[in-house]
């Protein structure tokens, strides 16, 4: 027998209380894992960006477009392999008002050389390239909205008002899990040619994605691109694809920070509840601590016994929480979210970092919750403790 085995047995002394406490921590850990997965899934696209791609946008804000002619200048910059432009369309299917998906007008001839992770059957690809009104949609989106190759769909534009008709010519998937498979791509030319002469939106592009030869030269090439437009009426800001994706996320950074905070607040509340449980449990055993002190145990032995107990409860709750989280997130909620909210969460899975953080935080939660009760138990007066009834 060891002192730690006494602590472990004391955990299960009041089985119902221990079980409810462990379950409480497990639920808090599930909530933590879920919220952390929301955070990591939201930023996973940015984090997993290709290192050999740069994004160029308006220096002031990405909401204001760039002149289309800039693409030719960018292609001439040394180190650039190819470049492709796109504009945010912001369309909605009126038959599915509540379904959000990314719809973009893209330069078709360069799309696949810059975004080589997109996988489209050769026949579909050919048809799409040859049909100005053709659309290429992600397989997750197609499945969700019931679209198939050959269908005609109408999108209502928000940035470009009106009804826009497309034929689904291809369904794409991806070689990388983190790529959004819920996007809707169509020909930029179709959009541009449909705009009236003199429209301020005509011959404008939202951003340019550039593929470069050497990722180590990304900084120098970015500067070279921006320098090329220094004297132009609209300056550019070029950054890595990761930084660009993160700048898009900047719009929702407050929400992300709030989620981050809430996930920690949940654990803090659970720490207080666990602290109360441990305090109650140690209070009930005051006389036993008195006996241990009488027969020679030192205050730090008592503190250690209480801390081990608290850490064991934290660890059990953390372990159970993780065991519950995996089927919930990976098999249930994750699949649902990827299918229905793929634009925001293309890959909704628990990362290793989240799992480790959850377990470590559960142990720390136990340790923190046990600190005050352990301190108080260690400071008990031996004689007063022995007099305590019960």
């Amino acid at each position: 027998m060891r002192l730690s085995s006494l602590s472990v047995r004391n955990v299960w002394r009041n089985r119902l209380r221990a079980l409810l406490t462990v379950l409480g921590i497990a639920v808090a850990i599930v909530a933590f894992v879920l919220l952390r997965t929301v955070l990591s899934a939201w930023t996973v696209g940015a984090e997993a960006s290709a290192k050999d791609r740069l994004g160029t946008r308006n220096k002031v804000t990405f909401v204001v477009p760039l002149p289309k002619r800039y693409i030719e200048t960018i292609r001439q910059v040394p180190g650039v392999v190819d470049a492709s432009y796109a504009s945010w369309f912001g369309g909605k299917d009126p038959r599915h008002e509540n379904e959000f998906f990314a719809s973009m007008a893209v330069e078709t001839k360069t799309l696949f050389s810059v975004f080589d992770e997109l996988v489209v059957p050769p026949a579909d690809r050919e048809r799409w390239l040859n049909n100005r009104k053709g659309a290429l949609v992600g397989d997750v989106l197609a499945k969700k909205l019931g679209w198939k190759v050959g269908d005609t769909v109408t999108l209502q534009g928000s940035i470009y008002p009106g009804d826009w008709q497309f034929q689904i010519e291809g369904i794409y998937s991806s070689t990388r899990k983190v790529v959004d498979r819920s996007s809707f791509f169509f020909h930029w030319d179709y959009l541009n040619d449909s705009l009236p002469e003199g429209s301020p939106q005509r011959d404008r592009i939202g951003w340019v994605t550039t593929r470069i030869r050497d990722p180590l030269q990304a900084g120098a090439i970015s500067q070279a691109i921006d320098r090329a437009f220094d004297e132009q009426e609209i300056q550019t800001l070029t950054m890595s694809e990761r930084a660009m994706n993160l700048s898009f996320l900047g719009m929702v950074s407050a929400v992300l920070k709030a989620i981050d905070l809430v996930s920690l607040v949940i654990l803090f509340i659970m720490m207080l509840i666990l602290g109360n449980t441990i305090a109650m449990s140690t209070r009930e055993r005051t006389r036993e601590f008195g006996v241990m002190r009488a027969i020679g145990f030192l205050p730090h032995h008592i503190a250690l016994a209480v801390l081990i107990e608290a850490i064991v409860i934290g660890g059990l709750g953390g372990g159970l929480g993780l065991v519950l989280s995996y089927p919930l997130v990976e098999r249930g909620m994750g699949r649902f979210i990827e299918e229905n909210m793929g634009s925001f969460f293309p890959y909704f899975r628990i990362s290793e970092g989240t799992a480790v953080a959850a377990l470590v935080l559960a142990l720390l939660l136990g340790l923190s919750a046990g600190l005050l009760p352990a301190y108080r138990a260690a400071r008990l007066n031996v004689i007063d403790s022995l007099r305590r009834a019960g």
């Binding site: 027998m1 047995r9 036993e288 241990m292 027969i295 020679g296 004689i383």
Partner: protein, 251 residues
């Protein structure tokens, strides 16, 4: 088991022993407990309460003494002082050669672990531990191996006649059996002094007699010095000497 479950100090006990040796003082030739002019005063707010007043007491090695007296007479306070759970407000208190008034809390704790065996009225066993584990508990403070700890705990239980209840939890034992486990726990470290605070207070007559007989054996066969606080005249009769306390003074 020989008469001494832990005949010589081991491991940390040796360190503790040398620590405690700093405070060793000569007691009288035959005394293991020596109190001279001991006072104990508590304060209720600013009001002093004199629990023990100028107490002198000599207990010989191997003595078996009962302390009796009305509630509030200072019996338990005196027992706590002798057991090193408390310090006197004034006077000198030597137990087993150690000047308890001069020792720090941690020194006192180590001294108690080596010198004193405690027997409480309410047994005070750990409900989550079996009988043998309860007896083993004080040995966790030593550097004995797990197997040696277990062996000594089993031997102590055999001495109190509970070899067939080693793996029972306290809730599975009668009151008398629980107190016997507590006595085994008290002797497992081979202490020189056993302090018993109303050891038969929660027991029926028959069980009480069995416990008193066991204490007699501890005194006679294992040569333990026993100081027992009791309200029970039958228990006091078993002791060699019965001392009476009243209003903090021996009468």
């Amino acid at each position: 088991m020989n008469s001494s479950p832990q005949a010589s100090p081991s491991g940390s006990d040796r360190g503790a022993a040398s620590d405690i040796a700093e405070h060793a003082r000569p007691t009288t030739a035959e005394s293991i407990i020596s109190l001279r002019g001991v006072r104990k005063t508590y304060f209720r707010g600013k009001e002093p309460i004199h629990v023990l007043q100028d107490l002198d007491l000599e207990v010989p090695v191997g003595g078996y003494e009962a302390l009796m007296g009305p509630s509030g007479s200072g019996k338990s306070t005196l027992l706590n002082l002798i057991a090193g759970l408390d310090r006197p407000s004034a006077g000198s208190l030597l137990v087993a050669g150690a000047d308890l008034g001069a020792m720090s809390d941690s020194q006192l704790a180590r001294w108690r672990a080596n010198t004193i065996g405690f027997i409480f009225q309410a047994y005070n066993l750990m409900p989550v531990l079996t009988a043998v584990e309860n007896v083993e508990l004080p040995l966790l403070l030593t550097k004995l191996s797990a197997s040696e700890r277990k062996r000594r705990a089993q031997t102590a239980l055999r001495i109190v006649g509970l070899e067939d209840r080693m793996h029972h939890y306290p809730r599975q034992l009668s009151g008398g059996q629980e107190q016997r486990v507590a006595i085994a726990r008290a002797i497992v470290n081979d202490p020189q002094v056993l302090v018993a605070d109303e050891p038969t207070g929660d027991l029926d007559r028959q069980s009480a007699d069995e416990i008193l007989t066991l204490l007699e054996r501890m005194n006679r066969e294992l040569h333990k010095t026993i100081i027992m606080v009791t309200h029970d005249p039958a228990a006091a009769e078993r002791a060699h000497i019965t001392r009476r306390l009243n209003k903090g003074q021996l009468i």
